[in-house]
Subunit: 263 residues, 2 copies
Protein backbone atom coordinates (compact mmCIF):
# COMPACT_ATOMS: atom_id res chain seq x y z
CA UNK A 1 0.00 0.00 0.00
CA UNK A 2 1.36 3.39 -1.07
CA UNK A 3 0.00 6.78 -0.06
CA UNK A 4 0.52 9.29 -2.85
CA UNK A 5 0.25 12.85 -1.64
CA UNK A 6 -0.04 15.38 -4.48
CA UNK A 7 0.85 18.91 -3.43
CA UNK A 8 -1.48 21.78 -4.19
CA UNK A 9 1.01 23.98 -6.01
CA UNK A 10 0.37 25.57 -9.36
CA UNK A 11 3.05 23.73 -11.33
CA UNK A 12 2.40 20.15 -10.27
CA UNK A 13 2.09 17.97 -13.39
CA UNK A 14 -1.18 16.29 -12.51
CA UNK A 15 -1.47 14.49 -15.85
CA UNK A 16 2.03 13.06 -15.41
CA UNK A 17 1.25 11.87 -11.89
CA UNK A 18 -1.92 10.09 -12.99
CA UNK A 19 -0.22 8.61 -16.05
CA UNK A 20 2.39 7.04 -13.74
CA UNK A 21 -0.23 5.76 -11.31
CA UNK A 22 -2.12 4.07 -14.16
CA UNK A 23 0.78 1.63 -14.61
CA UNK A 24 1.58 1.13 -10.92
CA UNK A 25 1.31 -2.45 -9.71
CA UNK A 26 0.80 -1.75 -6.02
CA UNK A 27 -2.42 -0.62 -4.35
CA UNK A 28 -2.51 3.09 -3.53
CA UNK A 29 -4.63 5.90 -2.19
CA UNK A 30 -4.33 9.49 -3.41
CA UNK A 31 -4.40 12.51 -1.11
CA UNK A 32 -4.20 15.90 -2.77
CA UNK A 33 -3.93 19.56 -1.94
CA UNK A 34 -5.17 22.63 -3.75
CA UNK A 35 -3.62 25.54 -1.90
CA UNK A 36 -2.71 27.60 -4.98
CA UNK A 37 -6.24 27.14 -6.33
CA UNK A 38 -7.76 28.05 -2.96
CA UNK A 39 -5.63 31.16 -2.62
CA UNK A 40 -6.49 32.32 -6.13
CA UNK A 41 -10.19 31.67 -5.62
CA UNK A 42 -10.21 33.48 -2.27
CA UNK A 43 -8.40 36.38 -3.92
CA UNK A 44 -10.83 36.44 -6.88
CA UNK A 45 -13.75 36.45 -4.44
CA UNK A 46 -12.25 39.32 -2.52
CA UNK A 47 -11.52 37.39 0.66
CA UNK A 48 -7.75 36.76 0.72
CA UNK A 49 -6.58 34.21 3.26
CA UNK A 50 -5.13 35.22 6.60
CA UNK A 51 -2.23 33.23 8.01
CA UNK A 52 -1.85 32.82 11.77
CA UNK A 53 1.48 31.96 13.34
CA UNK A 54 1.15 30.28 16.70
CA UNK A 55 3.36 31.27 19.60
CA UNK A 56 5.27 28.02 18.99
CA UNK A 57 6.05 29.12 15.44
CA UNK A 58 3.67 26.91 13.48
CA UNK A 59 1.86 28.70 10.65
CA UNK A 60 -1.72 27.90 9.72
CA UNK A 61 -4.53 29.42 7.69
CA UNK A 62 -7.31 31.18 9.62
CA UNK A 63 -10.28 29.00 8.75
CA UNK A 64 -13.58 30.77 9.24
CA UNK A 65 -16.81 29.54 7.64
CA UNK A 66 -16.16 31.53 4.47
CA UNK A 67 -12.72 30.02 4.06
CA UNK A 68 -14.24 26.57 4.53
CA UNK A 69 -16.67 27.39 1.72
CA UNK A 70 -13.74 28.35 -0.50
CA UNK A 71 -11.95 25.13 0.47
CA UNK A 72 -14.98 23.02 -0.36
CA UNK A 73 -14.99 24.67 -3.77
CA UNK A 74 -11.26 24.47 -4.47
CA UNK A 75 -10.24 21.18 -2.82
CA UNK A 76 -13.38 19.00 -2.65
CA UNK A 77 -14.88 20.46 -5.82
CA UNK A 78 -12.65 21.68 -8.61
CA UNK A 79 -9.30 20.00 -7.87
CA UNK A 80 -10.72 16.73 -6.54
CA UNK A 81 -13.05 16.17 -9.46
CA UNK A 82 -10.54 17.24 -12.13
CA UNK A 83 -8.13 14.67 -10.65
CA UNK A 84 -10.90 12.05 -10.72
CA UNK A 85 -11.55 12.99 -14.36
CA UNK A 86 -7.84 12.57 -15.21
CA UNK A 87 -7.88 9.20 -13.45
CA UNK A 88 -10.90 8.04 -15.43
CA UNK A 89 -9.19 9.17 -18.64
CA UNK A 90 -6.26 6.92 -17.73
CA UNK A 91 -8.38 3.91 -16.82
CA UNK A 92 -8.26 4.42 -13.04
CA UNK A 93 -11.74 4.08 -11.56
CA UNK A 94 -11.36 6.86 -9.03
CA UNK A 95 -13.84 8.00 -6.40
CA UNK A 96 -13.20 11.46 -4.98
CA UNK A 97 -14.06 12.09 -1.35
CA UNK A 98 -13.39 14.70 1.29
CA UNK A 99 -13.23 13.78 4.95
CA UNK A 100 -16.94 14.51 5.44
CA UNK A 101 -18.03 11.75 3.07
CA UNK A 102 -18.87 8.68 5.11
CA UNK A 103 -16.79 10.37 7.85
CA UNK A 104 -13.82 8.95 6.02
CA UNK A 105 -11.45 11.21 7.96
CA UNK A 106 -12.70 12.48 11.31
CA UNK A 107 -10.86 14.73 13.70
CA UNK A 108 -11.05 17.02 16.67
CA UNK A 109 -11.52 20.75 16.44
CA UNK A 110 -8.72 22.95 17.77
CA UNK A 111 -9.44 24.60 21.08
CA UNK A 112 -7.90 27.71 19.68
CA UNK A 113 -4.60 28.89 18.32
CA UNK A 114 -2.45 30.99 20.65
CA UNK A 115 -1.17 33.93 18.67
CA UNK A 116 0.41 37.26 19.41
CA UNK A 117 -1.64 40.20 18.20
CA UNK A 118 0.92 42.93 18.44
CA UNK A 119 2.29 42.18 21.90
CA UNK A 120 -0.98 40.77 23.23
CA UNK A 121 -1.51 37.02 23.59
CA UNK A 122 -4.85 35.99 22.11
CA UNK A 123 -6.66 32.73 21.52
CA UNK A 124 -8.23 32.49 18.08
CA UNK A 125 -10.88 29.83 17.41
CA UNK A 126 -11.81 28.70 13.92
CA UNK A 127 -12.93 25.67 11.91
CA UNK A 128 -9.63 23.84 12.04
CA UNK A 129 -8.38 20.79 13.82
CA UNK A 130 -6.46 17.56 13.66
CA UNK A 131 -7.53 14.30 12.05
CA UNK A 132 -7.74 11.34 14.40
CA UNK A 133 -9.62 8.45 12.82
CA UNK A 134 -10.14 6.96 9.38
CA UNK A 135 -13.20 5.03 8.19
CA UNK A 136 -11.11 2.03 7.16
CA UNK A 137 -14.11 -0.20 6.29
CA UNK A 138 -15.29 2.37 3.70
CA UNK A 139 -11.79 2.77 2.24
CA UNK A 140 -11.40 -1.00 2.11
CA UNK A 141 -14.85 -1.42 0.56
CA UNK A 142 -13.82 0.91 -2.26
CA UNK A 143 -10.36 -0.63 -2.72
CA UNK A 144 -11.70 -4.20 -2.65
CA UNK A 145 -14.16 -3.30 -5.40
CA UNK A 146 -11.53 -1.77 -7.67
CA UNK A 147 -12.02 1.89 -6.86
CA UNK A 148 -9.13 4.23 -6.10
CA UNK A 149 -9.99 6.71 -3.34
CA UNK A 150 -8.94 10.28 -4.07
CA UNK A 151 -9.04 12.10 -0.75
CA UNK A 152 -8.79 15.69 0.31
CA UNK A 153 -9.71 18.20 3.01
CA UNK A 154 -11.87 19.40 4.69
CA UNK A 155 -12.44 16.65 7.21
CA UNK A 156 -15.27 16.23 9.72
CA UNK A 157 -14.90 17.09 13.41
CA UNK A 158 -16.43 15.62 16.59
CA UNK A 159 -19.50 17.88 16.13
CA UNK A 160 -19.92 16.67 12.54
CA UNK A 161 -18.82 20.02 11.12
CA UNK A 162 -16.39 20.59 8.28
CA UNK A 163 -12.96 21.63 9.49
CA UNK A 164 -9.72 22.51 7.79
CA UNK A 165 -6.63 20.49 8.56
CA UNK A 166 -3.19 19.93 7.10
CA UNK A 167 -3.17 17.31 4.34
CA UNK A 168 0.11 16.09 5.82
CA UNK A 169 -1.83 15.15 8.94
CA UNK A 170 -4.43 13.39 6.80
CA UNK A 171 -1.58 11.41 5.25
CA UNK A 172 -0.37 10.55 8.75
CA UNK A 173 -3.68 9.04 9.93
CA UNK A 174 -4.15 7.26 6.60
CA UNK A 175 -0.67 5.77 6.69
CA UNK A 176 -1.36 4.41 10.14
CA UNK A 177 -4.86 3.16 9.36
CA UNK A 178 -3.80 1.41 6.15
CA UNK A 179 -0.38 0.36 7.43
CA UNK A 180 1.21 1.83 4.33
CA UNK A 181 4.96 1.30 4.16
CA UNK A 182 5.66 3.93 1.51
CA UNK A 183 4.54 7.54 1.34
CA UNK A 184 5.26 9.62 -1.76
CA UNK A 185 5.03 13.36 -1.27
CA UNK A 186 5.04 15.29 -4.54
CA UNK A 187 5.97 18.94 -4.22
CA UNK A 188 7.12 21.86 -6.34
CA UNK A 189 10.82 21.32 -5.81
CA UNK A 190 13.43 18.68 -6.61
CA UNK A 191 13.00 17.36 -3.07
CA UNK A 192 14.23 18.56 0.29
CA UNK A 193 16.69 21.39 -0.39
CA UNK A 194 19.42 22.49 1.98
CA UNK A 195 19.05 25.99 0.59
CA UNK A 196 15.51 26.70 -0.62
CA UNK A 197 16.77 28.99 -3.38
CA UNK A 198 19.27 26.51 -4.78
CA UNK A 199 17.88 23.48 -6.63
CA UNK A 200 21.37 21.98 -6.63
CA UNK A 201 21.32 21.75 -2.83
CA UNK A 202 19.05 18.70 -2.92
CA UNK A 203 19.54 16.33 -0.02
CA UNK A 204 19.23 12.88 -1.55
CA UNK A 205 18.92 10.85 1.62
CA UNK A 206 17.89 11.62 5.16
CA UNK A 207 18.03 8.99 7.86
CA UNK A 208 14.67 8.97 9.63
CA UNK A 209 16.48 9.40 12.91
CA UNK A 210 17.73 12.84 11.81
CA UNK A 211 14.26 14.35 11.27
CA UNK A 212 13.88 15.69 14.76
CA UNK A 213 17.09 17.69 14.54
CA UNK A 214 16.09 19.09 11.14
CA UNK A 215 12.68 20.12 12.47
CA UNK A 216 14.45 22.51 14.84
CA UNK A 217 16.35 24.16 11.97
CA UNK A 218 13.35 25.33 9.92
CA UNK A 219 10.30 27.56 10.27
CA UNK A 220 6.63 27.84 9.35
CA UNK A 221 5.03 25.27 7.06
CA UNK A 222 8.27 23.32 6.62
CA UNK A 223 8.54 22.81 10.38
CA UNK A 224 5.04 21.35 10.39
CA UNK A 225 5.84 19.14 7.41
CA UNK A 226 8.91 17.60 8.98
CA UNK A 227 7.00 16.98 12.19
CA UNK A 228 4.40 15.11 10.10
CA UNK A 229 7.12 13.03 8.38
CA UNK A 230 8.69 12.16 11.69
CA UNK A 231 5.39 10.82 12.97
CA UNK A 232 5.05 8.57 9.92
CA UNK A 233 8.14 6.67 10.96
CA UNK A 234 6.97 6.44 14.57
CA UNK A 235 3.86 4.75 13.14
CA UNK A 236 5.67 2.16 11.04
CA UNK A 237 6.36 3.75 7.67
CA UNK A 238 9.60 2.52 6.21
CA UNK A 239 10.10 5.01 3.39
CA UNK A 240 8.99 8.56 2.70
CA UNK A 241 9.95 10.02 -0.67
CA UNK A 242 9.74 13.74 -1.29
CA UNK A 243 9.60 13.91 -5.06
CA UNK A 244 9.43 16.58 -7.72
CA UNK A 245 5.82 16.90 -8.83
CA UNK A 246 6.73 19.07 -11.81
CA UNK A 247 8.53 16.54 -13.98
CA UNK A 248 7.19 14.36 -16.78
CA UNK A 249 6.99 11.29 -14.52
CA UNK A 250 6.74 12.37 -10.90
CA UNK A 251 5.70 9.02 -9.40
CA UNK A 252 8.01 6.88 -11.52
CA UNK A 253 10.94 9.16 -10.65
CA UNK A 254 10.09 9.16 -6.95
CA UNK A 255 9.92 5.36 -6.82
CA UNK A 256 13.25 5.22 -8.69
CA UNK A 257 14.80 7.12 -5.80
CA UNK A 258 14.97 10.62 -7.28
CA UNK A 259 14.14 13.44 -4.90
CA UNK A 260 14.76 13.03 -1.19
CA UNK A 261 14.43 9.54 0.24
CA UNK A 262 13.88 9.38 3.99
CA UNK A 263 14.26 5.92 5.49
CA UNK B 1 -36.73 3.33 -3.03
CA UNK B 2 -37.34 7.07 -3.23
CA UNK B 3 -35.35 9.57 -5.26
CA UNK B 4 -35.25 12.93 -3.51
CA UNK B 5 -34.32 15.76 -5.84
CA UNK B 6 -33.42 18.97 -4.03
CA UNK B 7 -33.62 22.02 -6.26
CA UNK B 8 -30.75 24.46 -6.44
CA UNK B 9 -32.68 27.61 -5.55
CA UNK B 10 -31.60 30.08 -2.92
CA UNK B 11 -34.53 29.60 -0.54
CA UNK B 12 -34.66 25.82 -0.29
CA UNK B 13 -34.68 24.83 3.40
CA UNK B 14 -31.85 22.31 3.26
CA UNK B 15 -31.81 21.73 7.02
CA UNK B 16 -35.54 20.97 6.96
CA UNK B 17 -35.13 18.52 4.09
CA UNK B 18 -32.36 16.62 5.83
CA UNK B 19 -34.21 16.64 9.16
CA UNK B 20 -37.16 14.95 7.43
CA UNK B 21 -34.94 12.42 5.66
CA UNK B 22 -33.33 11.46 8.98
CA UNK B 23 -36.64 9.93 10.12
CA UNK B 24 -37.65 8.40 6.78
CA UNK B 25 -38.15 4.64 6.88
CA UNK B 26 -37.65 3.93 3.18
CA UNK B 27 -34.33 3.74 1.35
CA UNK B 28 -33.52 6.86 -0.67
CA UNK B 29 -30.93 8.56 -2.81
CA UNK B 30 -30.45 12.33 -2.88
CA UNK B 31 -29.86 14.31 -6.07
CA UNK B 32 -29.32 18.02 -5.67
CA UNK B 33 -28.86 21.15 -7.71
CA UNK B 34 -26.97 24.36 -6.99
CA UNK B 35 -27.96 26.70 -9.78
CA UNK B 36 -28.35 29.82 -7.61
CA UNK B 37 -24.93 29.15 -6.07
CA UNK B 38 -23.39 28.54 -9.48
CA UNK B 39 -24.86 31.72 -10.94
CA UNK B 40 -23.66 33.79 -8.02
CA UNK B 41 -20.19 32.27 -8.14
CA UNK B 42 -19.94 32.80 -11.89
CA UNK B 43 -21.04 36.39 -11.40
CA UNK B 44 -18.57 36.95 -8.56
CA UNK B 45 -15.79 35.53 -10.73
CA UNK B 46 -16.74 37.83 -13.58
CA UNK B 47 -17.94 35.12 -15.93
CA UNK B 48 -21.76 35.29 -15.91
CA UNK B 49 -23.50 32.31 -17.48
CA UNK B 50 -24.83 32.40 -21.01
CA UNK B 51 -28.12 30.68 -21.76
CA UNK B 52 -28.71 29.11 -25.16
CA UNK B 53 -32.20 28.46 -26.46
CA UNK B 54 -32.34 25.70 -29.04
CA UNK B 55 -34.43 26.08 -32.19
CA UNK B 56 -36.91 23.69 -30.57
CA UNK B 57 -37.34 26.05 -27.63
CA UNK B 58 -35.36 24.21 -24.95
CA UNK B 59 -33.15 26.45 -22.84
CA UNK B 60 -29.75 25.32 -21.57
CA UNK B 61 -26.63 26.84 -20.09
CA UNK B 62 -23.62 27.24 -22.41
CA UNK B 63 -21.13 24.92 -20.73
CA UNK B 64 -17.56 25.72 -21.66
CA UNK B 65 -14.59 24.47 -19.64
CA UNK B 66 -14.71 27.51 -17.36
CA UNK B 67 -18.37 26.96 -16.57
CA UNK B 68 -17.61 23.33 -15.79
CA UNK B 69 -14.96 24.54 -13.34
CA UNK B 70 -17.56 26.77 -11.69
CA UNK B 71 -20.01 23.84 -11.56
CA UNK B 72 -17.43 21.57 -9.96
CA UNK B 73 -16.96 24.24 -7.31
CA UNK B 74 -20.63 25.06 -6.71
CA UNK B 75 -22.34 21.69 -7.20
CA UNK B 76 -19.72 18.98 -6.50
CA UNK B 77 -17.85 21.11 -3.96
CA UNK B 78 -19.67 23.62 -1.82
CA UNK B 79 -23.31 22.51 -2.06
CA UNK B 80 -22.64 18.76 -2.16
CA UNK B 81 -20.36 18.76 0.86
CA UNK B 82 -22.51 21.15 2.91
CA UNK B 83 -25.44 18.78 2.32
CA UNK B 84 -23.25 15.83 3.36
CA UNK B 85 -22.29 17.81 6.49
CA UNK B 86 -25.98 18.46 7.30
CA UNK B 87 -26.69 14.76 6.79
CA UNK B 88 -23.90 13.76 9.16
CA UNK B 89 -25.23 16.23 11.73
CA UNK B 90 -28.57 14.45 11.53
CA UNK B 91 -27.14 10.95 11.76
CA UNK B 92 -27.30 10.15 8.04
CA UNK B 93 -24.01 8.64 6.89
CA UNK B 94 -23.91 10.40 3.55
CA UNK B 95 -21.33 10.07 0.78
CA UNK B 96 -21.31 12.88 -1.77
CA UNK B 97 -20.47 12.05 -5.35
CA UNK B 98 -20.70 13.70 -8.74
CA UNK B 99 -21.18 11.64 -11.88
CA UNK B 100 -17.42 11.39 -12.46
CA UNK B 101 -16.83 9.44 -9.24
CA UNK B 102 -16.70 5.76 -10.09
CA UNK B 103 -18.49 6.80 -13.32
CA UNK B 104 -21.61 6.71 -11.21
CA UNK B 105 -23.54 8.61 -13.90
CA UNK B 106 -22.19 8.38 -17.43
CA UNK B 107 -23.62 10.01 -20.51
CA UNK B 108 -23.07 11.06 -24.07
CA UNK B 109 -21.87 14.48 -25.10
CA UNK B 110 -24.21 16.61 -27.19
CA UNK B 111 -23.30 16.86 -30.86
CA UNK B 112 -24.12 20.50 -30.63
CA UNK B 113 -27.07 22.72 -29.90
CA UNK B 114 -28.82 24.28 -32.88
CA UNK B 115 -29.40 27.91 -32.06
CA UNK B 116 -30.30 31.04 -33.94
CA UNK B 117 -27.67 33.74 -33.72
CA UNK B 118 -29.66 36.69 -34.96
CA UNK B 119 -31.25 35.09 -38.03
CA UNK B 120 -28.38 32.69 -38.67
CA UNK B 121 -28.64 29.03 -37.71
CA UNK B 122 -25.52 27.92 -35.86
CA UNK B 123 -24.39 24.75 -34.12
CA UNK B 124 -22.76 25.39 -30.74
CA UNK B 125 -20.70 22.64 -29.12
CA UNK B 126 -19.88 22.57 -25.44
CA UNK B 127 -19.34 20.25 -22.47
CA UNK B 128 -22.94 19.20 -22.08
CA UNK B 129 -24.85 16.05 -22.77
CA UNK B 130 -27.36 13.52 -21.61
CA UNK B 131 -26.91 10.86 -18.92
CA UNK B 132 -27.36 7.29 -20.13
CA UNK B 133 -26.05 4.81 -17.59
CA UNK B 134 -25.71 4.49 -13.84
CA UNK B 135 -23.08 2.49 -11.96
CA UNK B 136 -25.70 0.52 -10.05
CA UNK B 137 -23.17 -1.83 -8.37
CA UNK B 138 -21.40 1.16 -6.76
CA UNK B 139 -24.70 2.72 -5.64
CA UNK B 140 -25.84 -0.62 -4.26
CA UNK B 141 -22.48 -1.16 -2.53
CA UNK B 142 -22.93 2.13 -0.70
CA UNK B 143 -26.61 1.57 0.12
CA UNK B 144 -26.01 -2.00 1.31
CA UNK B 145 -23.35 -0.73 3.68
CA UNK B 146 -25.52 1.96 5.21
CA UNK B 147 -24.33 4.97 3.22
CA UNK B 148 -26.71 7.43 1.60
CA UNK B 149 -25.45 8.60 -1.81
CA UNK B 150 -25.76 12.36 -2.37
CA UNK B 151 -25.41 12.87 -6.10
CA UNK B 152 -24.98 15.86 -8.33
CA UNK B 153 -23.66 17.06 -11.67
CA UNK B 154 -21.38 17.17 -13.57
CA UNK B 155 -21.47 13.66 -15.01
CA UNK B 156 -18.86 11.86 -17.12
CA UNK B 157 -19.18 11.48 -20.89
CA UNK B 158 -18.09 8.75 -23.30
CA UNK B 159 -14.62 10.34 -23.55
CA UNK B 160 -14.35 10.37 -19.74
CA UNK B 161 -14.67 14.14 -19.60
CA UNK B 162 -16.83 16.13 -17.21
CA UNK B 163 -20.03 17.37 -18.81
CA UNK B 164 -22.96 19.40 -17.63
CA UNK B 165 -26.41 17.91 -17.79
CA UNK B 166 -29.83 18.58 -16.31
CA UNK B 167 -30.29 17.12 -12.86
CA UNK B 168 -33.80 16.15 -13.95
CA UNK B 169 -32.19 13.85 -16.49
CA UNK B 170 -29.93 12.43 -13.79
CA UNK B 171 -33.06 11.71 -11.77
CA UNK B 172 -34.54 9.99 -14.82
CA UNK B 173 -31.64 7.51 -15.29
CA UNK B 174 -31.43 6.92 -11.54
CA UNK B 175 -35.13 6.22 -11.24
CA UNK B 176 -34.85 3.66 -14.01
CA UNK B 177 -31.66 2.06 -12.72
CA UNK B 178 -32.93 1.75 -9.14
CA UNK B 179 -36.55 1.05 -10.13
CA UNK B 180 -37.68 3.77 -7.77
CA UNK B 181 -41.45 4.10 -7.57
CA UNK B 182 -41.51 7.56 -5.99
CA UNK B 183 -39.68 10.72 -7.02
CA UNK B 184 -39.86 13.82 -4.83
CA UNK B 185 -38.90 17.05 -6.54
CA UNK B 186 -38.41 19.93 -4.12
CA UNK B 187 -38.60 23.37 -5.71
CA UNK B 188 -39.06 27.03 -4.74
CA UNK B 189 -42.82 27.07 -5.18
CA UNK B 190 -45.85 25.42 -3.65
CA UNK B 191 -45.85 22.92 -6.50
CA UNK B 192 -46.91 23.15 -10.12
CA UNK B 193 -48.71 26.45 -10.52
CA UNK B 194 -51.24 27.23 -13.24
CA UNK B 195 -50.12 30.84 -13.09
CA UNK B 196 -46.46 31.18 -12.06
CA UNK B 197 -47.15 34.50 -10.31
CA UNK B 198 -50.05 33.19 -8.22
CA UNK B 199 -49.23 30.75 -5.41
CA UNK B 200 -52.96 30.08 -5.03
CA UNK B 201 -53.09 28.58 -8.52
CA UNK B 202 -51.48 25.33 -7.33
CA UNK B 203 -52.54 22.27 -9.28
CA UNK B 204 -52.88 19.55 -6.65
CA UNK B 205 -53.11 16.57 -8.94
CA UNK B 206 -52.03 15.88 -12.50
CA UNK B 207 -52.80 12.57 -14.13
CA UNK B 208 -49.57 11.28 -15.66
CA UNK B 209 -51.37 10.93 -18.96
CA UNK B 210 -51.85 14.70 -19.16
CA UNK B 211 -48.14 15.57 -19.01
CA UNK B 212 -47.62 15.57 -22.75
CA UNK B 213 -50.34 18.13 -23.32
CA UNK B 214 -48.95 20.36 -20.56
CA UNK B 215 -45.47 20.14 -22.03
CA UNK B 216 -46.79 21.92 -25.13
CA UNK B 217 -48.21 24.79 -23.08
CA UNK B 218 -44.97 25.93 -21.42
CA UNK B 219 -41.56 27.28 -22.40
CA UNK B 220 -37.88 27.09 -21.47
CA UNK B 221 -36.74 25.18 -18.40
CA UNK B 222 -40.29 24.19 -17.44
CA UNK B 223 -40.80 22.50 -20.83
CA UNK B 224 -37.69 20.44 -20.21
CA UNK B 225 -38.80 19.58 -16.67
CA UNK B 226 -42.18 18.27 -17.76
CA UNK B 227 -40.55 16.22 -20.49
CA UNK B 228 -38.31 14.68 -17.82
CA UNK B 229 -41.32 13.91 -15.57
CA UNK B 230 -43.17 12.30 -18.47
CA UNK B 231 -40.25 9.96 -19.10
CA UNK B 232 -40.28 8.85 -15.43
CA UNK B 233 -43.73 7.39 -15.91
CA UNK B 234 -42.75 5.71 -19.18
CA UNK B 235 -40.01 4.02 -17.13
CA UNK B 236 -42.21 2.71 -14.35
CA UNK B 237 -42.44 5.46 -11.74
CA UNK B 238 -45.84 5.46 -10.08
CA UNK B 239 -45.71 8.82 -8.29
CA UNK B 240 -43.89 12.10 -8.79
CA UNK B 241 -44.42 14.76 -6.16
CA UNK B 242 -43.45 18.36 -6.83
CA UNK B 243 -43.13 19.76 -3.35
CA UNK B 244 -42.34 23.08 -1.74
CA UNK B 245 -38.70 23.04 -0.68
CA UNK B 246 -39.05 26.21 1.36
CA UNK B 247 -41.26 24.98 4.20
CA UNK B 248 -40.28 23.67 7.61
CA UNK B 249 -40.78 20.03 6.54
CA UNK B 250 -40.45 19.76 2.78
CA UNK B 251 -40.16 15.95 2.54
CA UNK B 252 -42.79 15.16 5.17
CA UNK B 253 -45.22 17.55 3.47
CA UNK B 254 -44.52 16.13 0.02
CA UNK B 255 -45.13 12.57 1.20
CA UNK B 256 -48.34 13.75 2.87
CA UNK B 257 -49.58 14.82 -0.54
CA UNK B 258 -49.00 18.56 -0.34
CA UNK B 259 -47.66 20.17 -3.49
CA UNK B 260 -48.48 18.66 -6.87
CA UNK B 261 -48.91 14.93 -7.05
CA UNK B 262 -48.53 13.39 -10.48
CA UNK B 263 -49.65 9.78 -10.73
Amino acid sequence: MIIVKIGGGRSINLAGVIEDLAVLDEQYVIVHGANALRDKLAQDLGQPKQVLTSVKGYASVYSDEKLLDVMLMAYAGLRNKRIVELCQQHGINAVGLCGLDGKIVQGKRNNGIRVYQGKKLKIVRDFSGKPETVNVPLLQLLLDNGYVPVLTVPIIDEFNAAINTENDDVVRVLQQALEARTVINLIEAAGFLKNQDDAASLIKNIPAAELEAREQQVEGRMKRKILAFRKLFEQGASRVIIGDGRGAHPVRDALAGKGTVIE
